[in-house]
């Protein structure tokens, strides 16, 4: 079984999700069975991810030739430190979201747990595959699952948000295919590492075509990552989704970011000759604008879910800025930051839901409403979460912010990155201070102590699980940053996949 580790994260969710559709897990009355099974699957997923990570730490990047067809012909899964880390993150997020959903979300409609598993499958697949078309397929898996999860629970807002989300992404998929076609048509291969080998051998005209294809990929990944001006879908979509779904969605933008890191480091990175780092003139300014727009969004947010969604935007911009620095240090910093920001965004969505359900009609909007039923619990959770999200010590956000800031190498990088990030942080502090004081400190009348509004123990478990990750990530920041640094080095060493995949060009 250990030989098959790289594919196990995908298969666990896929097979698990399928079994959940069959007896004895299908059927409205058998939800307990489903829950137990879903929980087991999430734990299994995490165990697999940990095993994979251990193996990668131990033996370096490993590959898995699906169908026993070697690169560049078959589909290759490639698990390096980065992929393993993100797979683990996905599993962890899946576990928390699943636990949270036990509070009742999972029974608001059909197929919650199976689709959740398929969603995990799509995400892990996208992280693990080293084949561009297979990446497209996993993108589609994760997208269709996200469409379905988004409408879970029903309601006008969700339907409306989904219409935008679905149509935009379908257009995005069309562009993805054009980009794929262009790259295949010029390089004659689909394997990422193989394509990187071909990139430096292209003739002048082919280079132009490859560049166009690469640019289109940037648009596609930018759309998934919610890079400006392709971000519009995000706030409405994420704030419309039910809490555990939105929490899981926190990692979806990271799939886009991951793809940008992977593709534009390996294929269009240092080794791409005339095309090396061709996207930087675009990504730098767009990243800054993303942070700015995210910050404006945070300030303008009428409710907590919207703030959470806009903090996702800010983290996206920050990650893209780190990407633009194009050093292993910056990439390593980005990976740490990505872990942190994913987890905390998820927490915010869950908290917004828990707070909202105790504030009656006002839900999580910043208006005077009745007092929350559990002010101490929710207040404490919110307070910690807010500190984490704005990057205040002693939690992971602080370290995430510092590593990213430190990674700016040149004076100009520093000036741009620091001022953007720090000003954004300040404005986020202002917004969250307003939010917190309004939600917890201003109220019209005491809460009617109704039991059914109280946070379910599952919700608390889900949130605390995610929130605890932050201090743990801070305490063990030493080893974790060491790991992300290695992950970055592996990513930037573009000969590494070539040799792991034993590609022909590698020996020459």
């Amino acid at each position: 079984m250990m030989d098959h580790l790289p594919i196990l994260p995908i298969l666990v969710s896929l097979i698990g999700g399928l079994l959940l559709l069959l007896p004895p897990f299908a059927g409205i009355e058998r939800y307990v069975n489903r829950r137990v099974a879903a929980l087991f699957l999430c734990l299994l997923q995490i165990a697999v991810a940990i095993a994979l990570m251990a193996k990668v730490i131990d033996a370096g990047p490993i590959m898995y030739a699906v169908g026993n067809w070697q690169a560049p012909f078959g589909i290759i899964l490639y698990a390096d430190s980065l992929a393993a880390l993100l797979v683990l993150l996905t599993g962890f997020l899946g576990l928390a979201s699943t636990l949270y959903s036990f509070a009742g979300t999972d029974r608001e409609g059909h197929y919650f747990h199976p689709i959740m598993q398929f969603q995990l499958m799509g995400i892990t697949g996208a992280f693990l595959t080293h084949d561009l078309f297979n990446l497209f397929v996993f993108f589609e898996v994760l997208l269709i699952a996200s469409y379905v999860l988004l409408v879970h629970g029903g309601g006008k807002q969700r339907t409306q948000a989904n219409v935008h989300y679905v149509i935009l992404n379908l257009v995005g998929s069309a562009i993805f295919l054009i980009a794929l076609g262009t790259l295949y048509g010029t390089t004659g291969t689909l394997n990422i590492a193989d394509m990187s080998l071909k990139m430096s051998t292209l003739s002048e005209g082919e280079q132009v075509l490859a560049k166009v294809g690469g640019m289109m990929l940037l648009v596609v990944f930018g759309l998934k990552a919610a890079m400006l001006p392709l971000h519009f879908w995000l706030p409405n979509t994420y704030s419309a989704a039910s809490a555990p779904v939105a929490a899981l969605f926190a990692i979806m933008t990271k799939v886009g970011i991951y793809s940008i890191f992977r593709v534009f480091t390996v294929i269009f990175g240092e080794g791409a000759g005339a095309l090396s780092n061709m996207v930087l003139p675009w990504v730098w300014p767009l990243a800054i604008l993303t942070v700015i727009v995210g910050t404006i969004g945070v300030l303008a947010s009428p409710n907590l879910r919207n703030i959470a969604a806009n903090t996702v935007l800010i983290s996206v911009g920050t990650l893209l800025m780190a990407f633009s620095i194009r050093s292993p240090e910056a990439s390593g910093a980005a990976f740490y930051y990505a872990l942190h920001s994913t987890l905390i965004s998820a927490v915010l969505f869950m908290l917004a839901d828990m707070i909202g359900q105790q504030r009656g009609k006002a839900f999580d909007r910043f208006v005077i409403a009745k007092k929350v039923t559990q002010p101490t619990l929710l207040g404490a959770l919110f307070f910690v979460a807010a500190m984490v999200v704005v990057g205040l010590p002693p939690f992971s956000g602080f370290i995430g912010k510092v590593v990213v800031l430190q990674s700016a190498a040149t004076g100009l990088d520093k000036a741009l990155l620091w001022s953007t990030v720090l000003i954004s942080t300040l404005l986020t502090i202002i917004a969250l201070a307003r939010a917190g004081t309004t939600l917890f400190w201003r109220h019209a009348g005491e809460s009617a102590n109704s039991e059914d509004e109280s946070a379910s123990v599952w919700q608390v478990v889900g949130v605390v699980l995610l929130l605890m990750a932050s201090p743990i990530m801070a305490i063990f920041a030493g080893p974790i940053t060491e790991y992300t640094a290695i992950a970055a080095l592996q990513l930037h060493d573009i000969r590494l996949p070539v040799s792991v995949l034993q590609l022909q060009g590698g020996q020459q």
Binding site: Y147, T159, I167, A174, G185
Partner: protein, 122 residues
């Protein structure tokens, strides 16, 4: 031939993009379909145009590039699933939001759509 082919892809893309930019769900879904056709033709042609030689072994001397064909097949199926979802979603939107605008609401400055044709909810 190549020029003619590219022209067709271009025209279909044009039509698809234009439809995608409409304000109501139905034309947008058709635009996505159209864009799908264009994209499939595009992807297909990246194996170059081959008049003879379907990639069936033993049926001809030379073979058309089978890889893009396989990719397009996958893309068609996925596109089918996605379009189906989009179609039903637009139905759902019509049901939930009471209109068929992609934004879920009448764009500002247009006359209200008549709903007299619709019988009461079943």
């Amino acid at each position: 031939m190549e020029l003619l082919y590219s022209l067709c892809v271009g025209v279909m893309t044009f039509s698809g993009v234009f439809l995608c930019l409409r304000g109501r769900t139905f034309p947008v879904v058709m635009g996505l379909m159209m864009l799908g056709y264009a994209v499939n033709l595009f992807l297909f042609s990246t194996g170059r145009l081959s008049l003879d030689g379907a990639a069936i072994l033993g049926k001809s001397e030379t073979y058309a590039d089978p890889l893009p064909q396989a990719l397009v097949l996958t893309a068609i199926v996925i596109g089918f699933a996605m379009t189906a979802f989009a179609v039903i979603l637009s139905m759902r939107a019509r049901a939930d939001l009471g209109n068929d605008f992609v934004d879920g609401k009448e764009p500002p400055g247009r006359p209200k759509q008549s709903v007299s044709r619709w019988s009461s909810k079943q």
